[in-house]
Amino acid sequence: MRKQLKKFAQFTALSSLLVLSACGGDQAAGDKEEQSGGGTVKADIGVISYISGPGAAYGEAITNGLKLAQEEINSKGEVEINLVIEDSAGKQDQALTAAQKLMNSENVTGIIGPTLSTEMNVVGPEADLNGVPIMGTSTTAEGIPQIGDYVFRNSLPEALAIPAAIDKAIEKYDAKKVAILYGNDDVFTKSGFDTMKKAAEEKGLEILTIETFQKGQSDYNAQLTKIKGLNPDLILASALYNEGAVIMDQARKMGIDVPFVGGNGFNSPEVINIAGDAANGLIVATPWYGEKEDEKVQDFVSKYEEEYSKKPDQFAAQAYDALYIMAEALKNAGEADRDALRDALAEVQGFNGILGEFSFDKEGDVVMDPTVLVIEDGAFKVFE
């Protein structure tokens, strides 16, 4: 009998703890009122971002970009956006609970994020099922917008970026033989590799060898020695910048001086900081080029530098544009309604942001022309 009582007490304690934890977020839910009469559309937009943990730099750039855009949009007065930012810590289950909180407790109209494609794989279907439009700003893996009608992205997918970079490199260096090097234990680099291999095969390049490495590896001499012996015209490397920079450094020391073509994760000024001169000859395709002679771009760069005292990267730029796209859609929808927002998002065509001209295709994927960059003399330049 006493046992039973104790068990009962245990679970009462459990459930009351749950209820306690619930109390935190509930107040905010009430004040989302749409006010379409006065001309301004007020909306809560949820943000799921990777702001604690090893990848926190991505989340920081994204939230900075969003906040900057929010300020500008709200000051214009047509749309008033309230950002509700939640942390996912880069974990799928955390991202999912954050999304549930935004959708059910905060009653947001739309969601921006999450940061990683793995998180989107979990959050996307749930948002789609609940009918909440969700837009990834950094999810580049294949198959993300295909999750459902409510899932969008404005980040340039690898499937557009990598072929563009390879094309330009072939043209310039008349490349015929390539070696591929990729990290096989990371979703990002693995998916980048799949795209690279497909692109190389389509363009009729001869793939001499496919070498793999693991996250955090520090010695790439075995793979590079093999690649050197095969004498490729180009090296396609699907790596994140931390490993990628080390690879380039070791390759140059070994006397491999052919150009590298990298994916989106390789595209970071950090490569130059880590590898120095060895980084010269890295070709990447990117939606974002901060030196572009464009008023909007320069405006954004100077504002961002003023606010956060560092240069914006592509994640900040993509997030900035994403909120503008959301605002545009909200304005067209005329009210803070989830379904109306989805329909308006799907109709966004020829949007002119800091990344260039942008449209969604039928599935909610990106239509735009990437810029191909190359590192020369320690700086990113447009690759001609």
Partner: protein, 325 residues
């Protein structure tokens, strides 16, 4: 009325708590024979992948996948358990940690089957499948005034609650049976236990296999609640996380890891309002805990104290034979 009280967010958190509690129980079982095994994340992965692949590729019902995944993990538990249990203490921890990594590397490299690091998506979702089946019988959650997604998460939560309670009850009973006494004897002194006629190898492998079985079971539930798994979910971090449940809550009594899992899963959610600082607080709490109570928060003394408090009214006091372990 009911509909307003049910928030899928809270139910989602509760579901993860329950899965983590099951994982906490799985490490408690092996710890209760004094063996420190860090292979639980690997077993969880085996369970999750087995069930996900079966339901994805052969359209089997989820329940079959869950059973198969659980049994597969248990089988691996026996296979791994027999040779490795000759090792003790830190050596066993190293070997089992290695095993977990091997499993992860296999998931990463067996691309034709597991899709490598990209992971498996579109795994049948437990709650949604139940809803679909019920709808087939003409049932509509609107009868209770619930929306579809509220109903989905409510069923998952209730199902997991029942499962978790059953698992805890089972192991509490086992602890007071011959098996449990043997486990406790082995934990205290292996040589003495052997000289008393306890078959050490049998009981150690049994505990190890039970731990694997339960971890695999939690893995299958994880796969069907999240609907997406990737090898990174079952890496070294997960093994440590599971261990922390036991370290934090205490591993002497089953309520220790249960409480550890509950507290450590709720914490990051409660602390959401401080956003990027929450994991610092979380870390701080764990450090303070370890400094102040290295044996874990819940141990026999605490339980007795709670019992004393609750039974004072009846003028009784807990004797050692009624110790609920």
């Amino acid at each position: 009325m009911l509909a307003e009280l049910i928030n899928p967010y809270h139910l989602q958190v509760a579901s993860f708590i329950l899965i983590n509690i099951i994982l906490g129980v799985s490490i408690y079982i092996t710890l209760s024979t004094g063996q420190l095994s860090l292979a639980n994340a690997g077993f969880m992965g085996i369970g999750a992948y087995t069930s996900a692949l079966l339901t994805l590729n052969f359209d089997l019902p989820i329940i079959v996948g869950i059973l198969a995944g659980t049994l597969m993990a248990g089988l691996f538990g026996i296979i791994i358990g027999i040779p490795t249990l000759r090792l003790q203490g830190v050596y066993l921890a190293i070997v089992t940690l290695g095993f977990g990594e091997v499993i992860r590397v296999i998931f990463v490299n067996w691309e034709s089957l597991t899709k490598g690091a990209v992971g498996l998506s579109g795994i049948p979702h437990m709650g949604r499948e139940i809803l679909k089946t019920l709808k087939g019988f003409g049932f509509d959650p609107k009868v209770f005034g619930l929306q579809n997604n509220q109903f989905v998460f409510l069923t998952i939560f209730l199902l997991l609650l029942v499962i978790t309670i059953s698992i805890i009850m089972f192991f509490r009973r086992q602890n007071r049976s011959r098996v449990g006494r043997a486990f406790a004897a082995i934990k205290l002194d292996e040589k003495a236990a052997e000289s008393m006629g306890i078959n050490i190898t049998y009981y150690k492998v049994l505990a190890f296999a039970q731990g694997a079985l339960v971890a695999g079971f939690a893995g299958t539930l994880f796969a069907h609640v999240l609907a997406y798994i990737s090898p990174a979910d079952f890496a070294y971090h997960r093994a440590v996380e599971i261990l922390i449940f036991a370290v934090f809550g205490g591993s002497e009594v089953i309520w220790g890891p249960v409480f550890g899992a509950l507290f450590l899963t709720v914490m990051p959610e409660v602390l959401r309002f401080i956003s990027e600082y929450r994991y610092m607080i979380y870390g701080l709490i764990i450090i303070i805990m370890m400094a102040v109570r290295p044996q874990g928060l819940i141990d026999v003394n605490i339980l007795n104290w709670i019992k004393l408090k609750t039974s004072k009214r009846r003028q009784k006091h807990g004797t050692s034979s009624q110790k609920s372990m």
